[in-house]
């Protein structure tokens, strides 16, 4: 199972990298979103998969699945959501002011 998931993570990371290297802002934002999916899976996989029950003390018996990666991912999901929202609005504002969503056209003047 772990090997399978890690392969999937590899595909996700490669796709995300390719998207991030684009010129279009939306593609880049999508790239970061895919990237965070990959990272979440990676963190979870590092804590071993399917090695225990749901980490709810009253509901299930030991052994429990590793709760620490889960807590980390929970934080990461929220943060990546905040970042995605922020750059989306940034892209929107940039387009409003500058009139393009192409990064090569957004490139600053040389003397700046």
């Amino acid at each position: 199972m772990e090997t399978l998931i890690i392969m999937l993570i590899g595909i996700l990371v490669a796709v995300a990298t390719y998207l991030i290297l684009s010129r279009n802002i939306i593609r880049i934002i999508l790239g970061t979103a895919v990237f965070s999916h990959a990272v979440h899976l990676l963190i979870l996989t590092m804590g071993d998969l399917k090695k225990g029950n749901v980490p709810l003390l009253k509901e299930a018996d030991a052994p429990y699945a590793d709760a620490l990666p889960q807590a980390l991912i929970l934080t990461a999901i929220v943060i990546s959501f905040a970042v995605t929202a922020f750059i989306l609005v940034l892209a929107y504002r940039t387009y409003q002011d500058v009139g393009t969503d192409d990064l090569d056209e957004l490139r600053g003047a040389r003397d700046e």
Binding site: V13, Y18, P55, A65, V78, Y92
Partner: protein, 803 residues
């Protein structure tokens, strides 16, 4: 008993207090308050003179980073005492003088803050026993010097002078730091005293000579030795009290201090002897030779300072030869050069300080320091003239002033060195008296320029903006005290010799037994000896040269102005700026894709390269959990969805595919026993998708990207490589079980935190602080989103108003 560490800290503390309290002293000139600091420190230190004279030393240690051998250890001995007295004594006089020199309209709080900063740093340099601490203080003096030179920072020349001084002294300082580290590598200690005690075992070490040269570089740049002297004339852009204090009496002597301090370490080496004495001799000659052609009195004094520093430096070099012979009646003769160096160090501070203050008076009262516009000031400024006369004659080496005594000792030392029969001195030794004598002639000439051109002759009122008048008494007090010392030292030199110089001699020659033997009796008259004849010849030839100055001055025109060290410095500076621009512009080209490529390539090379190099890749399928068919289906769906994103024709498709990924991960979270994650992921993914769709209504349609095949290929290769590296790292790490997982600790969540849901307990309790910061991040992002939308509205309003 007060601690010496405190002496260093007091100026810093007061400097730190000034910005908060200077507003309270609106009615009083801030200088009066600041003056208390050096006066108190001077008195405190002066009280220790008798016990130092009896051979006592004081060591205080405050442990700073003992694990790295960095300790704030102060060491008060004869050598540091001389410098400390100069720093606090001249410091007091300079601050007193500055009260009348700087009007209350200047930003005095900055000036005195920097000055105290310097004072503390300089005391730190001379008192520190630990080399690393010494280095920190050393650089602090460079920084405070930079701030003081650029005090009038609206002037371009001030800023340039400050930059030049900073660049040269700091690069020397870094060389010195490397030298210190080499010393530590050799001896295993950062303490100067320990290094002196053990260094004889290391004189054959490979690093011995490099360490010596690097440390000398630090000393030479700081003490404005040839060819690093070019910063000192430009540093004269500083207010005159600063020039008198930092750039003649104290900071530029830090290099002298360093050389004197390290004489017991390196002095017994031939390289040390030749480098120190020859650099000093060249500087002595070059400084005095160039001083003659200056028309700005302050520039003249700057070159004169360079020359005098060279004199002291060469004397220290000559004195180091005594270490060759060990302690005997003969070698004591050679230590007199070092004695003369220390003696001249004090004398120079007295007469040069007074002269700088005189030039400051002229500048302040008459509005110029140009010798061509001055003249005939003798009768109109009698006090100033007297001070200038005494200072100049002492500098020229005439009796009855202290400069005569040390100059004679200098000549005597150069004559003695010819008698030494090692280091091929019998053939080369003649250089020393000859160069010393020629340089002294030029010294005599420029001293006469100060007296005759500025003060004698006809007054040239028409060339001055202000009427000629005597300076206020406040500005005269400090230089008067200094010239009183000039005369006083001439008549009672042995008092100084016994109480101040003798303990310093035993710090420079710790192996030489009784310091009293190293202290010659200074006398003005010691029969007709070569040194006296040399002085007389200097006066005669100097007078003739001064008389016919106009005839031979054109020789300065022979030196091309295109090949000076200044031009070299400026070219180096300009080309390093343009070259760095060229390099930076090449890779910082404003294209985000390139920057990201750097990051990805770096990741591939370092992480992938590391795994490859150390063969760290491990892969073991046996520990894997089992999988079912539907799980494989899910993985396949995600892989297909991800890959299809690359080829999505519309942005809506791409976003929905991203949604597929998100929801599939939520299902995986369920499979992997993480219900909280699954819930959160579902909510967040829905909101994100909505957010994307919302943004699309304001963004242009997805244009087909026009990328060249090459670009696409590079992007593809990089992406696949990044993915591969992540897979390899993931496979290697997943079986890494060297340490027990810490998760079992959290399984006591119910006992420890009262929560049955472990994940929630971690977030809300064990790592509650992290969660709070996470909320802060969310809050800031929300603020950013809100303000970005809000700002636009305002701007549009303005535009409407403009129309």
């Amino acid at each position: 008993m007060f601690s010496i560490n405190l002496v260093i800290l007091i100026p810093f503390i007061v400097a730190a207090l000034i910005p908060f309290s200077y507003r309270r002293f609106k009615k009083v000139h801030l200088g009066w308050i600041v003056l208390i600091v050096p006066v108190v420190l001077f008195v405190l230190l002066a009280r220790l003179i008798p016990s130092l004279a009896s051979g006592k030393t004081y060591v205080h240690t405050y442990e700073w980073i003992p694990s790295l051998d960095f300790n704030f250890t102060t060491y008060l001995d004869g050598l540091s005492m001389i410098f400390a007295l100069l720093i606090t004594g001249v410091g007091s006089l300079v601050i007193l003088y500055s009260i009348f020199y700087l009007s209350s309209k200047e930003s005095l709080q900055h000036f005195y803050c920097y000055l105290l900063l310097f004072m503390g740093a300089m005391l730190g340099v001379v008192f520190s026993d630990n080399l690393m601490v010494l280095y920190v203080f050393w650089e602090l003096t460079s920084v405070s010097s930079f701030l003081l030179i650029a005090f009038w920072n609206h002037r371009k020349a001030s800023r340039q002078g400050a930059q030049k001084a900073m660049l040269i002294t700091v690069s020397g300082g870094i060389a010195m730091l490397v030298g210190f580290i080499m010393l530590h590598t050799m001896t295993g200690s950062f303490s100067i005293r320990e290094i002196i005690a053990s260094v004889s075992e290391f004189s054959d070490h490979d690093l011995f000579i490099p360490a010596m040269i690097l440390i000398l570089l630090g000393a030479f740049t700081k003490s404005a030795q040839f060819p690093f002297h070019i910063w000192l004339p430009d540093a004269m852009e500083a207010p005159t009290p600063v020039s008198a204090y930092l750039h003649s009496a104290t900071m530029v002597k830090a290099g002298i201090y360093l050389v004197a301090r390290f004489t017991p370490v390196f002095g017994a080496d031939e390289v040390w002897f030749w480098v120190v004495s020859m650099v000093g001799m060249i500087t002595l000659f070059w400084g005095s030779f160039n001083a003659v052609k200056q028309t700005d009195l302050k520039a003249l004094l700057a070159f004169s300072t360079i020359s005098q520093l060279g004199l002291i430096m060469s004397l220290l070099g000559l004195g180091s030869i005594a270490l060759q012979f060990g302690y005997s009646a003969d070698s004591v003769l050679y230590t007199q050069a070092t004695f003369a160096a220390l003696f001249h160090l004090i004398n120079h501070s007295t007469f040069k300080g007074a002269l700088f203050m005189v030039v400051g008076i002229l500048d302040h009262e008459l509005g110029t320091r140009d010798v061509r516009r001055l003249g005939g000031l003798m009768t109109l400024m009698p006090f100033t003239f007297t001070i200038a006369l005494i200072g100049s004659l002492s500098m020229a080496g005439l009796p009855p002033f202290n400069g005569f005594l040390s100059k004679e000792m200098f000549f005597a030392a150069t004559v003695h060195i010819m008698e030494v029969d090692i280091f091929s001195l019998p053939s080369l030794g003649l250089i020393f008296p000859v160069v010393a004598w020629i340089a002294s002639i030029f010294t005599f000439v420029y001293c006469m320029i100060i007296i005759f051109k500025a003060f004698l002759g006809k007054p040239q009122q028409e060339k001055l903006d202000k009427p000629i008048h005597e300076a206020p008494i406040g500005m005269l007090i400090s230089p008067m005290i200094l010239v009183a010392l000039v005369v006083g030292i001439f008549f009672f030199p042995n008092l100084l010799g016994q109480y101040i110089l003798q303990p310093a001699m035993s710090s420079i020659y710790p192996t030489f037994g009784d310091a009293a033997d190293l202290t010659p009796k200074i006398s003005a008259w010691h029969g007709i000896k070569p040194e006296l004849l040399m002085t007389i010849a200097v006066i005669i030839v100097g007078a003739i040269l001064f008389k016919f100055l106009k005839l031979w001055k054109p020789i300065y025109g022979l030196f091309s102005s295109r090949f000076t060290f200044n031009v070299l410095y400026f070219n180096f500076l300009a080309s390093s700026v343009s070259k760095s621009n060229l390099v930076t512009n090449r890779y910082m080209n404003g294209l985000l894709r390139h920057y990201l490529l750097y990051i990805f390539i770096f990741f591939i090379v370092t992480v992938g390269g590391y795994l490859l190099y150390f063969k760290a890749f491990s892969f073991d399928i046996s520990t894997n959990a089992s999988f079912r068919v539907y799980e494989v289906c899910l993985v396949a769906i995600m892989a297909v969805a991800a890959l299809s994103m690359l080829f999505a024709k519309s942005r809506i498709t791409a976003t929905l595919l991203n949604g597929v990924l998100g929801y599939s991960i939520a299902i995986f979270f369920v499979i992997f026993r993480a219900p909280d994650l699954a819930l959160t992921q579902l909510v967040v993914e829905s909101v994100t998708t909505v957010l994307f769709l919302l943004a699309f209504s304001h963004l242009p349609d997805w244009k087909k990207e026009k990328l060249s095949k090459g670009t696409k290929l590079i992007n593809g290769i990089i992406s696949v490589a990044v993915g591969l590296v992540v897979v390899i790292v993931g496979l290697s790490v997943v079986d890494f079980n060297l340490y027990d997982p810490i998760s079992s600790y959290f399984e006591d969540a119910y006992e420890l935190a009262g929560g049955a849901n472990i994940v929630n307990a971690i977030l809300g309790d064990f790592r509650g602080f992290d969660t709070m910061l996470e909320v802060v991040v969310l809050f800031i992002a929300g603020l950013g989103v809100y303000s970005m939308i809000k700002l636009r509205v305002k701007k549009e309003d303005e535009n409407i108003e403009d129309q």
